[in-house]
């Protein structure tokens, strides 16, 4: 009887033991983080910072960052989907990848990803030339009205997070403007510095080291440290624009085993609470955040629906 009870207990605990063992042994070989931009971009920096923190104290294997650029993240998604679903390849993505997939009508590929953790909120904001006539958000409203839908808003390509945020701002203000797309944020900033455009839609970190630029309004819930003079959209009476961000997060292939996924979640939670990580995020005028599972999935799905409405 005792023997039967013992065997039953052993059999019942096998999956748990397996899972625990897998959680403890993963990873056994080098991990790879796939980035959809060239080295040096914001998401590339984020992935490399994560690799450093993971290697420092969380895993005993090397963490390699691989840049698979092209198609605003679509090429990287296809690359991820071709890898084995063993958890050894992590995808570093931003909300911009979701927008690209929706804009190119490839959102079905997004369903094949498992959204592991959203780790950074980089809030959207409106930026102008400090020496221009626009000093406050009220100035901007009057200016846009006076230009009768012909003010020039600059930023990266159409259909991206910045362009869609501009559309939301116009909808909230009940007015229209021209969206002038550039190949990169850097070229669009040059257009503002050269006074060829009126407003740049981007993120607060775009103004770091560029004293000629000024943030007029930011979508963060509270005023950001280092940008205390920039009011939030909520303060300005546009709560619907609050919380809009170019988030950064990590995903796996959807068929990744649950135990490996659970291990990743623990690793990411530990890494993102590391002071080095927190300092890195804050230095870029962004805010650390940690959303996983249903929360992250619902953020992605809400964005897909919202983007579809704006784009089509």
């Amino acid at each position: 009887m005792l023997l039967r009870l013992f065997l039953t207990l052993v059999l019942l605990s096998t999956p748990f033991l397996e899972r625990t063992l897998a959680e403890e042994t993963f990873p056994e070989r080098p991990l790879k983080i796939v980035v959809y931009t060239e080295s040096g971009g914001v998401i590339d920096q984020t992935a490399r910072q994560l690799a450093l923190v993971l290697e420092k104290s969380n895993v005993a294997v090397p963490v390699v960052v691989e840049n698979i650029k092209g198609g605003g993240g679509l090429v990287a998604i296809e690359h991820i989907l071709r890898q084995p679903a063993d958890g050894y390849t992590l995808f570093a993505l931003t909300s911009s990848v979701i927008s690209k997939a929706v804009a190119s009508k490839r959102e079905s590929r997004l369903e094949l990803l498992d959204y592991l953790a959203l780790v950074v909120d980089d809030y959207e904001c409106l930026i102008v030339h400090r020496e221009g006539s626009l000093k406050t958000f009220e100035d901007l409203k009057s200016f846009v009205r006076s230009k009768n839908s012909n003010s020039n808003w600059v930023g990266p390509a159409s259909g991206g997070t910045d362009h869609l945020f501009a559309q939301k701002v116009w909808a909230s203000l009940g007015m229209k403007a021209n969206w002038i797309p550039y190949r990169s944020g850097g070229e669009a900033i040059a257009a503002i510095l050269g006074k060829h455009g009126d407003v740049y839609v981007g993120n607060p970190q775009d103004t770091l080291g560029r004293p000629d630029l000024q943030v007029l309004a930011v979508a963060s819930p509270q005023r950001l440290k280092g940008f205390e003079s920039a009011p939030t959209f909520a303060e300005l009476g546009y709560p619907e624009l609050s919380g809009e961000s170019l988030w950064r997060g990590f995903a796996l292939r959807s068929e990744t085993p649950a135990n490996v996924r659970a291990r990743w979640k623990v690793l990411l939670e530990k890494a993102t609470s590391d002071p080095t990580w927190q300092q890195f995020v804050l230095a870029g005028a962004a805010l650390p955040r940690f959303e996983t599972d249903d929360e992250f999935r619902s953020i992605v799905h809400a964005q897909i629906e919202s983007d579809k409405k704006l784009l089509f």
Binding site: G40, V75, E187, A190, A191, L311
Partner: protein, 497 residues
């Protein structure tokens, strides 16, 4: 930290660069840059991007001296394979190949390698001098370029097609138009809609420029050699024993210094870059030359114009990066990110916070050019030996190198197919007597022309193209560039025999 005056800043920079480890890293960066540049498929921006992770073990100053050396040297390195085997290592070296390769084929590799090395170094040093002396005012000039000016500059660049079309003007126009047409493939950044991608994700950003160019030039040449297999295959035998003396490059002062200054100025304009600088300076060199008919058949001035322009554009492109925090080129964009990874922010604040980095970069650029000179002189002995290898082995190796180089651009097999397709196209064009450079010119400038034209129309009236002074001047120069050969031709016809 209080802002340093210029003289003290340079002293701080000198002290920083003079540290033995920093000097060593500049030399190592120059060596790696030359090798990266000489590898088809590895552009300067990709070379620097690959080395960003390596820099984590260095402090910020050492890392940036290293990167600047790689950046400058890669622009020279691109000319090596262009001159040796008609395989441009970088997009800008396409123009160098036009005269460099024929000169090598004529049995003068010491001259073709010599001219490209010396012009690169002189151009690089002039670019560095202009960066050091005029960074702030030059950056403001760069910002003056709006969509109207960019459009006019690109159209002016396109007008240099006349420089490649002496023998068959109609065919050159057809090639240019085809290049422009290919440049429309990809996502339209204004509407977000895909154009001629046929649902292929690899075409979402358009046809990858490097594999296309490698195919057009190198594979086209390989196919040409294959088709002539019945003919005796001979290795290039040089007619000289030692490298061309340095003073020979100074025999063309107008082209050398003019291209260096113009190349720097074009480099300052964010997004214009080394390739456009090379094309424009080549066109200008042909115009001012006393022997324009030699261009395309191994003219020293052609090599000098291209190399001086693309090397000097490095100093120019660093102007907006250091003065404004705006990337002046694709490589600058990688450098900007790398600065952030090292906890620094590019822009006017950087010179106050870290004068050792900014002034150090100024000094490092000079040191890098000297390193390129010595490494280049040593390297030429090796490149010339490679030319002595039998052609059959060289051709097979080039074929593999082309496919490997195309693959490395994005780790994509699709790009190998692009390379092969453009290789067949390049071969067909050669057979049909169509010049290849105008096609590349159309490919390079197509996006710039279209995007800026549309931006300009969205931002204001059409008449602004003619009322904005710089735009007007550039459009007038375009007109002169297009009309002058016709006028010269009719005057020549009118002359008594």
């Amino acid at each position: 930290m209080a802002e340093l005056d210029f003289f003290n800043g340079i002293l701080v920079g000198l002290a920083s660069v003079a540290e033995p480890f920093n000097l060593l890293m500049i030399g190592f960066g120059a060596l790696l840059g030359i090798l990266f540049g000489a590898t088809p498929g590895l552009s300067p921006s990709m070379g620097v991007a690959l080395l960003v992770p390596l820099s984590f073990g260095m402090d910020a100053t050492t890392a940036f001296f290293f990167f600047v050396a790689v950046y400058q040297a890669a622009n020279y390195g691109g000319s090596i394979t262009a001159v040796a085997i008609n395989t441009p290592g970088t997009p800008a070296a396409v123009v160098t190949a036009l005269d460099g390769f024929p000169m090598t084929q004529q049995g003068h590799p010491e001259s073709s390698f010599g001219y490209s090395l010396y012009a690169s170094v002189v151009g690089g040093i002039i670019g560095a001098i202009l960066l050091v002396l005029f960074a702030v005012p030059l950056a403001q000039v760069g910002l003056y370029f709006g969509p109207h000016e960019y459009f006019a500059l690109a159209v002016f660049g396109l007008s240099t097609v006349v420089a490649f079309s002496t023998k068959a003007p109609l065919k050159a126009i057809v090639a240019t138009l085809f290049g422009l047409l290919v440049s429309t493939i990809g996502t339209d950044p204004f509407s977000g809609l895909e154009r001629s991608t046929f649902g292929v994700i690899d075409l979402y950003d358009g046809v990858s420029l490097l594999p296309a160019m490698i195919g057009l030039f190198a594979l086209g040449e390989v196919f040409e050699q294959f088709s002539r297999k019945s003919q005796a295959q001979k290795a290039v035998v040089s007619t000289m024993e030692s490298l061309l003396p340095l003073k020979r490059v100074f025999a063309f002062p107008r082209v050398l210094f003019g291209s260096s200054v113009l190349g720097t100025a074009i480099g300052v304009i964010p997004g214009a870059g080394a390739t456009i600088a090379s094309f424009i300076c080549y066109g200008r060199a042909k115009k001012v030359s006393r022997t324009p008919e030699k261009f395309g058949d191994g003219a020293a001035e052609g090599i000098i114009a291209s190399e001086a322009a693309n090397s000097s554009s490095v100093g120019g492109a660093l102007v907006p990066l250091l003065a404004l925090g705006i990337p002046g080129s694709a490589t600058d964009a990688v450098l900007l990110g790398a600065l952030t990874l090292h906890g620094l922010t590019a822009g006017p604040e950087l010179v106050r916070q870290r004068p050792d980095v900014v002034y150090g970069i100024f000094v490092a650029l000079f040191v890098a050019n000297f390193a390129i000179y010595f490494l280049g002189r040593f390297g030429v002995q090796i490149w010339i030996r490679i030319l002595r290898i039998p052609q059959s082995i060289v051709i097979s190796s080039v074929f593999l190198l082309c496919l490997w180089g195309s693959f490395t651009v994005r780790n994509s097999v699709f790009d190998c197919w692009v390379c092969l397709l453009f290789g067949v196209l390049g071969y067909g064009m050669k057979r049909g007597g169509y010049p290849i450079a105008p096609l590349v010119l159309g490919l390079v400038l197509g996006e710039m022309i279209e995007m800026n034209f549309r931006r300009a129309l969205l931002m204001g009236e059409f008449s602004l193209f003619f009322t904005k002074p710089l735009s007007l001047v550039l459009l007038l120069l375009t007109l002169i560039s297009l009309v002058s050969p016709v006028v010269k031709g009719s005057l020549r016809h009118g002359e008594p025999d």
